[in-house]
């Protein structure tokens, strides 16, 4: 299946101007992925980094032939890619094993699909299980295994078809920290020791350290729509030391790219990918809950008002996926600023962090009405209407024009959390209507519930 004479420069997969968009009934078009050029070359571990919901999984599915791009093309050794000709395999975040099949049957299934005779199937599957360290678990069912062992089965199932490119969709994020680290090292061992018949590994992740630890090349996606913000090589030798200055520098650098949209891309060997000018877009609220924002501000205040991003991530034991939205939300609300990878609390932020429950609500309300477009719109509409209430459809209609279906849901969810906390409106789940809340500052009983 693998071609022994592949020239080093010839990419295995070449994506040209792939784009994904959804046509809305009203003729509008929601763009999820802006036109992207991307090559997968042999001999490399490539990681694709990006914030949650940025379309990196969609891009992976386009590159594997699972999903068709809305425009552009994906070539596999120069031929149009189909799910039948692609020599790829995927390791899934949820493992996607079949619980009713034994470990051995799970690994044999892809060979069955290819019509491999029983004896050979059996032999190949056993050999791979041996390689990934699952000796003796052949007749176990997946539910008898720990998460790490399950993912090993996932590896074995992927490797048994001897893929040229091994795709991995957040392969370690469903595992606990130690298991994930162990499995990463074993993957590196297989890869560096050339124990797997694979030309290239393509990993989608939101874990920045994981990317720096594994990758020969890192691609950073920006969101809404997805476009390549940075694309650079990492030449550190394996095994890489997380504490080494170069490692820390790279982690810091990626944090900076991910948090500053306007950052000039002075990265080494920055990719030639088409850069889209930043377009005037409807404001997107980061998906952070009020409780998270308050917690972050208190922590910042405790640590003297200023902290490095990656230090914050360390202290909070959060990865970028969870931390970034909270920071972005604090910045959006004017409670914090971000500069060169430092988070700095503002005067407003300090006041908020030090205030009591009721004052916090007032401060949050002011900040929200000053900075958050959708909440401003709702507030003015609710005041303008005689019955001071409006259907949630109104809200959906505004968002529908700018975001995909899932994103509309998330935007709505977050805006509800903020708006109800700020007492800008109340939301009646039964009639699906937003209702003007009584003004803040009315005496409340001290037990008034606070949204976490």
């Amino acid at each position: 299946m693998t071609d022994p004479v592949i020239s080093v420069t010839e990419p295995i997969i070449r994506a040209h101007a792939v784009e994904k968009f959804y046509d809305q009934p009203d003729g509008n078009r929601i763009e999820v992925i802006a036109p992207i050029d991307l090559n997968v070359e042999p001999g490399k571990i490539i990681t694709l980094l990006g914030p949650s919901g940025c379309g990196k999984s969609t891009l992976l599915r386009i590159l594997t032939g699972l999903s068709q791009p809305s425009s552009g093309e994906v070539l596999w050794h120069g031929q149009p890619l189909t799910s039948q000709n692609a020599g790829v395999a995927i390791v899934f975040q949820s493992f996607a094993l079949f619980p009713w099949l034994t470990v051995l049957d799970n690994v044999e299934a892809p060979l069955e699909a290819r019509g491999v005779p029983a004896m050979e199937r059996h032999k190949r599957a056993l050999r791979i299980l041996d390689t990934v360290g699952l000796d003796g678990f052949e007749s176990a069912y997946p539910k008898e295994l720990s998460g790490g062992m399950k993912q090993r089965v996932g590896f074995a199932r992927a490797l048994v078809v001897e893929p040229e490119v091994l795709f991995m969709d957040e392969p370690f994020s469903a595992l606990d920290v130690l298991t994930a680290e162990n499995l990463r090292n074993e993957l590196l061992e297989l890869w560096l020791g050339k124990k797997m018949p694979t030309q290239s590994i393509f990993i989608v992740t939101h874990n920045i350290e994981e990317a720096v630890l594994l990758a020969d090349r890192v691609i950073v996606l920006a969101r809404n729509p997805a476009w390549v913000r940075a694309d650079f090589s990492i030449e550190l030798t394996h095994p890489r030391d997380r504490k080494s200055p170069r490692f820390v520098e790279l982690v810091d650098y990626i944090y900076k790219i991910m948090t500053q949209p306007q950052l000039a891309l002075a990265a080494p060997e920055a990719g030639a990918a088409a850069q889209k000018p930043v377009r005037q877009k409807y404001q997107m609220i980061p998906h952070a809950r009020v409780g998270g924002i308050a917690g972050l501000l208190e922590l910042l205040q405790d640590r003297g008002g200023k902290e490095y991003l990656h230090r914050l991530a360390e202290v909070l034991i959060m990865d970028a996926e969870d931390l970034l939205p909270i920071i972005e939300a604090s910045v959006l609300l004017g409670f914090a600023t971000l500069k060169d990878g430092d988070v700095q609390i503002t005067a407003e932020g300090t006041r908020f962090a030090e205030a009591d429950i009721l004052t916090r609500k007032i401060l949050f309300r002011q900040a929200a009405l000053n900075h958050v477009v959708i909440l401003q719109q709702i507030d003015s509409v609710l005041h303008a209407k005689t019955d001071h209430s409006i259907s949630q459809e109104f809200f959906y209609d505004i968002l529908d024009e700018h975001f995909s279906q899932d994103e509309v849901e998330r935007q709505f969810e977050t805006a509800m959390n903020w708006g109800r906390y700020a007492e800008i409106f109340d939301f009646d789940r039964e009639s699906h209507r937003l209702i003007l809340a009584e003004p803040v500052g009315e005496p409340h009983p001290p037990t008034s519930p606070v949204q976490p």
């Binding site: 699972l66 790829v88 069955e112 699909a113």
Partner: protein, 580 residues
């Protein structure tokens, strides 16, 4: 004492162990073989009967020896209808899940079909099938099978469809990326994923099937030899001993099916659970263990199942390669579908025109009669629901809150509920008429008998599902008496109560067909209602009236479901659901 025994047995053990192990007929194998022989004999006997001439006034023997035969016939009808239902459900669900265009009308149709009271078609179907196979017993037999099929297929089809729709995305993607062919998808993903849902729905369907079967076997001129007709004959003659024996046989059959079919199937289906971690208490079945130990079964799997499977694997692997090369060729399939669709539309159109012609031929008094009947039955059904809820809520909550009581009451209630209400109708009717109550009052008793269990079991489940910490919170804050019912218990059991009432309401409409009109000891007893009208119209061979009443009944039931129950269900789902 023990020594000589051991010596005596030793040679025997020798002989057994000398033989090559594979050829030894172990006890499980012997039993399996005998079962196969018995099955063959049964098929021959049944074929002789069914292909034989039709007996309009079949004589039902009340001898004890006839009971096993009758039970066998009843079982056979259930089994046939079930196999038919399973096949249909799989095909229907599969098409609906994978053809978006078909899905758009197949799923709403399923919804309507599910809520139509099947028994209202009993007379029509039986007359039609008898006419289709004139002079053969086969016609009425198939009629009964068809009717049971209509009663049990819809929830199974819906379950399969819903399972297919909810297969996790990454699992589907794994199948695509590893190039699973159609056969492999079906066998390794779709069927396993749907198994648990199908098993539970099958159990429900078969329980319902007994209800319909009893009604079929007792139906007017088309009596079929079976447990239902046996009980009816016993009641007709006031033969208490036969009534008792009949009911005992009925319960025994149901318990045996539970032990020999459902328990093993449930224990087997355990491996299809989509759980990440092995659960602590796993259902087990002796019968399943027995089968798994049987060498014959193992040999069969090794010699027949595995080679066949291997053949299929290669065949479909080649097939999918061929298909990958020639992506076209779907044009013929597309045209086939179009033709099927056009024919179906044509048939539906013709039927609608015929129905309208028949309906316009009815007189105003006919329509008035239908209206009155519908209203009377509607009142009766809802009164039954209220009565049922009134006694089952307190009792169910008491059982649900008290584990010790539950342990005693649950199995008793299950046995009581497992006896299909239609089976005991002749008996209850006999008692009621002796008491002189008449059917106006009697039909409510019958309705209650057929439907209260649904409410009771759901209330028990609901009461058990109320979390202990909520109960403790209520007692800490001193919430008791009526307040406790209003704030804790009623909201807590609400979703379960609604589910129970929906099922009970569907059941009650069904029962009304057989509860409002009865032949007993040569007399016809009836009361005002749409069910009585349908039965009377059949007896009088007034097909136009039969058709009109059946359609009116179906329409009312579907409308009530849409307007009332569907809304209550949504409310229960959205507001009263206790999420963990």
């Amino acid at each position: 004492m023990k020594r000589p025994e051991r010596i005596a047995f030793r040679p025997l053990v020798r002989i057994w162990s000398v033989l090559p192990s594979a050829s030894v007929a172990s006890l499980p194998d012997l039993i399996m073989f005998s079962a196969g022989l018995a099955l063959f004999y049964g098929i021959v006997e049944v074929a002789r009967n069914w292909l034989g001439p039709f007996h309009p006034q079949i004589e039902i023997s009340r001898s004890l020896g006839a009971l096993p035969v009758y039970a066998g016939y009843s079982l056979l009808r259930i089994a046939l209808a079930y196999i038919l239902s399973l096949l249909f459900a799989l095909i229907y669900g599969y098409i609906a899940a994978y053809r978006p265009r078909a899905e758009r009308f197949m799923i709403p149709l399923l919804d309507v079909l599910q809520s139509i009271p099947v028994l209202s078609f009993l007379p029509g179907v039986m007359l039609a099938m008898a006419a289709l196979f004139p002079g053969r017993q086969l016609g009425v037999e198939l009629g009964a099978v068809l009717l049971i099929f209509t009663g049990q297929v819809w929830n199974m089809a819906f379950s399969f469809y819903a399972s297919l729709k909810s297969i996790p995305r990454e699992m589907r993607e794994a199948a695509t990326i590893y190039r699973f062919n159609w056969w492999q998808r079906l066998l390794q993903i779709e069927l396993p994923y749907a198994t648990i849902g199908l098993v539970w729905n099958s159990m429900m369907s078969v329980a319902g099937a007994w209800f319909f079967l009893m009604a079929c076997e007792q139906f007017g001129d088309f009596r079929l030899p079976g447990l239902g007709s046996y009980l009816q004959a016993a009641a007709d003659n006031g033969d208490t001993r036969s009534i008792f024996l009949g009911i005992v046989t009925m319960v025994a059959v149901i318990v045996l099916i539970d032990q020999f079919v459902w328990r093993p199937v449930i224990a087997w289906s355990e491996k299809f659970k989509m759980e990440q971690v092995e659960s602590t208490s796993v259902p087990t079945s002796r019968v399943l263990d027995f089968l798994r130990r049987s060498r014959g079964v193992a040999l069969f799997r090794k010699r027949a199942v595995r080679p066949l499977r291997e053949q299929m694997v290669h065949y479909f692997a080649q097939q999918s390669d061929v298909r990958a090369e020639s992506a076209g060729g779907n044009q013929t399939v597309l045209w086939l579908w179009r033709v099927v669709g056009a024919v179906a539309l044509g048939a539906i159109g013709y039927a609608v025109v015929r129905v309208i012609m028949i309906l316009t031929g009815l007189s105003a008094s006919d329509f008035r009669q239908i209206g009155v009947g519908l209203f009377a039955t509607w009142l009766r059904v809802n009164l039954t629901l209220v009565l049922g809820a009134l006694w089952t809520i307190p009792v169910g909550v008491a059982i649900g809150f008290n584990p010790r009581l539950a342990r005693i009451a649950q199995p008793l209630a299950q046995i009581a509920a497992s006896v299909p209400a239609t089976a005991v109708f002749p008996v209850v009717m006999l008692v009621l008429i002796r008491m002189g109550g008449g059917l106006g009052f009697g039909s409510i008793v019958l309705l209650l008998l057929g439907t209260q269990w649904y409410i009771l079991f759901n209330v028990i489940a609901g009461a058990m599902a109320i979390p202990t910490d909520l109960k403790e919170a209520a007692s800490v804050f001193g919430i008791r008496g009526w307040e406790r019912w209003r704030k804790l218990i009623l909201p807590g059991i609400f979703p379960f109560l609604v589910t129970g009432m929906i099922t009970a309401s569907g059941g009650a409409w069904n029962v009304s067909i057989v509860a409002e009109y009865a032949h007993l000891k040569g007399h016809v007893y009836s009361t005002v209602g749409i069910g009585a009208m349908i039965s009377a119209a059949t007896d009088a061979k007034n097909f136009n009236l039969l058709l009109a009443s059946t359609i009116a009944l179906a329409a009312v039931v579907v409308t009530t479901n849409r307007l009332l129950w569907r809304r209550l269900y949504r409310l229960a789902e959205s507001r009263f659901k206790l999420e963990s």
